[in-house]
Symmetry: C2
Subunit: 259 residues, 2 copies
């Protein structure tokens, strides 16, 4: 690489979250860092993009010498705006996070953090999302910061296969219990909904989304296994959602067209 690596940083907890500050500090000496992140929390936004209203984006002074921009949109919007309006060339790396809370297994689908990373991958940018399994504002990001730095160095040095990004999750453990990283597959898991049903002061119903995480997957090669056993999980992720194995089965269907 003839020039300093260009590193785009995004998240979904918003540009002031401790997790993104930890991430910036972890990698700022590895290259030129530019931050484009939401101006307010955008957790659970999935891969939403904003088409029905316009977006705002403004430069901030939050990170001193490091260029940073806050955007009114979703994490995916931030990456799109960065690519089109902020960056002078394609970045060598996109890092999203460090998320306050797990994005392992099925949570990847709901995660704004991972959608920012995926949007980067779609743009051809080597990308990783990093999450710490601790929702609290005062979470200890020290292990996750080291992992983020290690992953960043590996990607800058080795690249990633085309169409592949990384979903990195770090367990909430003390440093002397932490066992290192494992390459994993996404565990088969889901949330069982249990909406909390309430009445407003006018007697009308409303619902809070709530639920119980259920892991159906007993494999020891999954991200959930790794996290439960004090490893950080690294899952290679693709945005080709085709279930290739199902194509031959479906070709046996006889789709009839009624008149």
């Amino acid at each position: 690489m003839s020039q300093r690596p260009l590193i785009l940083i995004c998240n979904d907890d918003g540009i002031t979250a401790p997790g993104i500050i930890a991430l910036v500090n972890a990698v700022k000496d590895l290259g030129e860092v530019i931050i484009v992140a939401p101006d307010s929390p955008q957790s659970a936004m999935g891969h939403a993009v904003t088409i029905s209203k316009p977006l705002r984006m403004e430069q901030t002074k939050l990170y001193g010498e490091i260029r940073s921009y806050q955007c009114s949109g979703t994490p995916a919007d931030c990456v799109k705006l960065a690519v089109d309006k902020v960056l002078h060339r394609k970045p060598d790396l996109l890092l999203s996070g460090i998320n306050h809370g797990s994005n392992s297994s099925i949570n990847i689908l709901y995660s704004g953090t991972m959608s920012a990373a995926m949007e980067g991958a779609i743009e051809g940018i080597p990308a990783a999302g990093i999450s710490l399994c601790d929702f609290s504002y005062d979470a200890d990001f020290s292990i996750a910061s080291k992992i983020a730095r290690d992953v960043a160095k590996n990607i800058i040095q080795n690249g990633l296969p085309a169409g592949v990004l990384l979903n990195v999750n770090v367990p909430k453990v003390k440093s002397d219990s932490f066992k290192g990283t494992r390459i994993c597959r996404q565990a088969l898991a889901k949330w069982e909904e249990e909406f909390d049903e309430r009445l407003d002061p006018n007697g009308k119903k409303y619902f809070w989304l709530s639920g119980k995480f259920v892991n159906f997957d007993k494999g020891d090669d999954t991200d959930e296994w790794a996290l439960a056993n004090n490893y950080a999980s690294i899952v290679p992720v693709q945005y080709d959602l085709t279930a290739h194995n199902a194509i031959s089965y479906l070709n046996q269907w006889t789709i009839k067209h009624e008149d």
Copy 2:
């Protein structure tokens, strides 16, 4: 099947959209239909779920004898609410759509229609999203309605492999040019962003998301090829996003932990 099939219908254009009305009419004699759909347009919401505010859901009389509910949340919220609060048993089929506009190739990631179907699949419900490649309110849903009915009958009769849902897209063609259905893979494509930058009356910048669709994929087994050649595309889709092929490559990485 000992009882009438139970069919849950959702969409992302909202409960009053012509596309969902067409879908209900296409399949209402195949079983007991229940509709839970957004009370306003939720296009491009991806797999967002609502965690920072409560949801409203109210029964409507829009569909006469057919039970219908409008919900203030995203398409994925609608499915979660339906499963937890509306349905008396797990449905035999979830249909999402008919969407006004294509959800082929990379559009699946941004699509609220497909996220509703995917949320169903995660819940273990055989599911399909159906989209017509015509954004207009007055689109002609006649071919898409027939395809939706055919797909519904096939799923009710044959089921779908575990963890697999269908992304069905129907071209905007006249009936005498339509060539039938093809089982396809997701084309490798993306949107090239071209934000429309404007100034508000106070002289401050804002941005409208806009872009150009680019298909990099020359294969004749893709959804984009099928649609361009007057076929409806049926892509089997999975929510296991693991790039299994990349696991052995990543295991060669030496992730060092600095102290």
